[in-house]
C-alpha cells in the first residue's frame, strides 16, 4: 500500500474550533495521562448537541408516544416521527415508513433473519454471508438455518482482507435467498463493494441485507443508490445515544414479512380470535420504544450533517493514511487487513507480543484501543492469530493522538518483546 502523508489535516474543525471541543468526555485524564480514545468502532463519544438533546428530552418532552391525546404525548410523538424523517433523509430512503427503530444493528439483523425464518425459507435454500462478518451478522443466520434447515455459505477473502468476488459469483445459485454482508469490516476496516454485491445478488433473485454499523459514521449512505433491500446500523457508533438503532427495509419487503415481536403499538385491532397488525413502520415496533434514543438520534445526525459526511470521510481517510504510514515503521508489526479501500479500523499484530499485553500497557498510558477478536473469531482463525490490537478512528481524533499511540505502541513492544 503506497501512502502519502503530506497534506493530511491535523484535526477537523467545527464553527472554527477543533471539533473535539464539542466532546466533553474526551477532555479527561486517565491514570494521570490525557485520554487518547481510539476505540471508536466499539462506540463513539457524544457531542454536546446530543447530550443537550437528551437533557432537553427529559426536562421538556418525556412522555409515551402514539397513544396519549395529551400535549406532552403529542410533543413526544412529533419529535419521534420527526427523527424518523431525518433518518430517512440521511440515508435517502424513499419514505419514513421504511425506517424501523431498533435497539441497534444486532436487533435489526435478528429482526430480518427471524422474520424470514417464518417467510418462505426452506431446507432447499441457502444464505450467503462473508468471511469477515461480525458475530451479529453470523449467528442470526445460523439460527435461521437451524429453524429452517437452510444452508449457510461464506464468501472467502484474500490475505489482504478483500472479498473474492469471483468466488461470490460462484456461490450465487438459485438456492440463495438472502445475501447478508457488512459494508465495512469492524476488524479489518475493509470497505466492501456492496453495490456490486447487491447487483449480483439481485440478478440472482436474492434479497440483500447490509450491516452498515461501521459505515454510517464514515461514509455517505444512499440506500436507493445501493438498492439494498435492508440496511442496519446503530446510533451509538455515530455519536448518538446507545440502545437505539435503525433498520431500513424496502417497503415491499416490510409489507410482505410477518411481524417480529407482538405487543402494543404494532397492532390495529386485537380480539382473542384475531389481531390485525398496524401499518408500517409500527408493525415492527412492538412495545414502548427507546423514545429518548430515537428522538436524540436526530441531534447526532444533525451534528454529522453540520460538519458534512464527505468532509468527515476525507478527514478520516487522512487519519487512516497517517496512522498506516506511522505503524509501518515499527519492526515486527503487521497490519491485519490491507484492503485498498479501508475506513475506520486499523488492526495490528506484533510478532512475539500478545495483543492483550499491548492493550493493557497502552491503557496505562491513557490510550484506549480494543484488543482481542472483535467479535470476529473466524477472521482470527484465518490469519492464525489470537487477536489484534485495533485502533479505530472518529472525526475528533487528531494526528498528534496517532503520534501518541505510535509512541506508546513502540514502548509497549519494547517492554514485551
Amino acid at each position: 500500500m503506497e501512502i502519502k502523508t503530506e497534506n493530511i489535516q491535523e484535526y477537523l474543525t467545527y464553527n472554527g474550533s477543533p471539533v473535539r471541543d464539542q466532546f466533553p468526555s474526551l477532555n479527561q485524564m486517565v491514570y494521570g495521562k490525557p485520554l487518547v480514545y481510539l476505540d471508536n468502532a466499539a462506540t463513539t463519544q457524544k457531542p454536546w448537541k446530543v447530550i443537550n438533546a437528551i437533557q432537553e428530552y427529559y426536562t421538556t418532552i418525556n412522555s409515551n408516544i402514539h397513544r396519549g391525546v395529551h400535549y406532552l404525548s403529542q410533543k413526544a410523538t412529533d419529535a419521534y416521527e420527526v427523527s424518523r424523517n431525518s433518518v430517512a433523509e440521511f440515508i435517502n430512503a424513499r419514505n419514513s415508513r421504511e425506517i424501523i427503530f431498533t435497539r441497534g444493528t444486532t436487533e435489526g439483523i435478528n429482526l430480518v433473519a427471524d422474520c424470514f425464518s417464518r417467510y418462505g425459507i426452506s431446507e432447499k435454500d441457502s444464505i450467503i454471508i462473508s468471511s469477515f462478518e461480525h458475530h451479529s451478522n453470523i449467528v442470526p443466520w445460523q439460527m435461521l438455518c437451524d429453524k429452517t434447515g437452510a444452508r449457510l455459505k461464506v464468501i472467502p477473502m484474500n490475505e489482504d482482507g478483500e472479498l473474492l468476488i469471483d468466488e461470490y459469483k460462484a456461490l450465487l445459485d438459485d438456492t440463495v435467498k438472502i445475501v447478508a454482508v457488512s459494508y465495512v469490516s469492524n476488524t479489518l476496516g475493509t470497505i466492501n463493494p456492496v453495490k456490486e454485491i447487491t447487483e449480483l445478488a439481485h440478478q440472482n433473485g436474492s434479497v440483500v441485507l447490509i450491516d452498515a454499523a461501521q459505515a454510517v459514521q464514515h461514509l455517505a449512505i444512499n440506500v436507493q443508490e445501493l438498492n439494498c433491500d435492508f440496511l442496519a446500523f446503530s446510533g451509538h457508533k455515530m455519536y448518538g445515544p446507545t440502545g437505539i438503532g435503525i433498520l431500513y427495509g424496502k417497503e415491499e419487503w416490510l409489507e410482505k414479512l410477518p411481524p417480529y415481536q407482538g405487543g402494543g403499538d404494532m397492532i390495529k385491532t386485537v380480539t382473542f380470535v384475531k389481531t390485525e397488525y398496524n401499518e408500517l413502520p409500527f408493525k415492527f415496533e412492538a412495545g414502548t420504544p427507546h423514545i429518548e434514543g430515537a428522538i436524540t438520534l436526530k441531534a447526532a445526525i444533525d451534528f454529522i450533517k453540520e460538519i458534512g459526511i464527505n468532509e468527515i470521510a476525507a478527514f478520516e481517510q487522512g487519519l487512516m493514511e497517517y496512522a498506516t504510514a506511522a505503524v509501518q515503521e515499527i519492526p515486527g508489526l503487521n497490519i491485519i487487513g490491507k484492503a485498498k479501500a479501508k475506513t475506520g479500523s486499523l488492526s495490528l499484530s506484533v510478532q512475539g507480543a500478545h495483543p492483550y499485553d499491548i492493550g493493557v500497557l497502552l491503557d496505562k498510558m491513557g490510550i484506549a484501543v480494543r484488543t482481542g477478536h472483535h467479535c470476529t473469531q473466524p477472521i482470527m482463525d484465518f490469519f492464525c492469530i489470537p487477536g489484534t490490537v485495533r485502533a479505530s478512528f472518529a472525526l475528533y481524533n487528531t494526528t498528534s493522538e496517532i503520534d501518541t499511540f505510535v509512541t506508546g505502541l513502540k514502548r509497549a513492544i519494547n517492554m514485551l518483546v
Binding site: 491514570y31 507480543a353 500478545h354 495483543p355 492483550y356 499485553d357 493493557v360 500497557l361 496505562k364 498510558m365 484488543t371 482481542g372 477478536h373 489470537p386 487477536g387 514502548r411 517492554m415 514485551l416
Partner: protein, 143 residues
C-alpha cells in the same frame, strides 16, 4: 513462610513501584522468572479460558500439599498467574482454601480480578480454590 507472609513480601516488592509502567515491568519480569511449565501438561483440559488470553494451570498434590505449574500465551497474564502461584503453591489444601488474597488489591491490580476482565485471572483463582476445596474435603473423608 505462610501465605500471608508471602503476600506481604509481594506488597513490599511493589511498594516502590509507583508508576504503572514500572509495575507492569515487574510483572513481566515475574513472568520471565516463572519456572517453565512441563509441556506435557499444556493440554486443553488444563486451560482456563479468558476471553483474550489462555492460561494453563496444572495442580499437583504431593505429601499433603498442593503445587501449581502455570503458563499463559500472554506475558502479563503469565506474570499475574506467576504472582498467584508464588503465593499459593506449596501449601495445604486447607490453607489455600482459607487464604484471603489481599495482595492483589494492595498492589493495585484489583481490576484484573473483576469478572469483566478478559485475562482469566479470576477464573484461575476460582479454579485453585476449587482444587483446594475438593482435596481438603477428600482429606477429611480419609481421616
Amino acid at each position: 513462610m505462610t501465605i500471608n507472609e508471602k503476600q506481604d513480601e509481594l506488597i513490599e516488592e511493589f511498594e516502590f513501584l509507583s508508576d504503572w509502567m514500572d509495575k507492569y515491568e515487574h510483572i513481566i519480569e515475574e513472568a520471565k522468572e516463572l519456572p517453565e511449565m512441563d509441556p506435557a501438561f499444556k493440554q486443553d483440559k488444563y486451560i482456563i479460558k479468558g476471553c483474550q488470553s489462555k492460561v494453563w494451570l496444572y495442580p499437583e498434590f504431593k505429601e499433603g500439599k498442593l503445587y501449581f505449574q502455570a503458563d499463559s500465551d500472554a506475558i502479563i497474564s503469565k506474570g499475574l498467574v506467576g504472582l498467584i502461584v508464588r503465593v499459593l503453591s506449596g501449601f495445604t489444601p486447607q490453607e489455600i482454601k482459607d487464604a484471603d488474597l489481599y495482595f492483589i488489591d494492595k498492589i493495585g491490580l484489583k481490576e484484573h480480578l473483576s469478572p469483566t476482565r478478559s485475562n482469566g485471572l479470576l477464573a484461575m483463582v476460582k479454579q485453585i480454590k476449587l482444587y483446594a476445596i475438593a482435596l481438603s474435603s477428600a482429606n477429611k473423608v480419609q481421616q
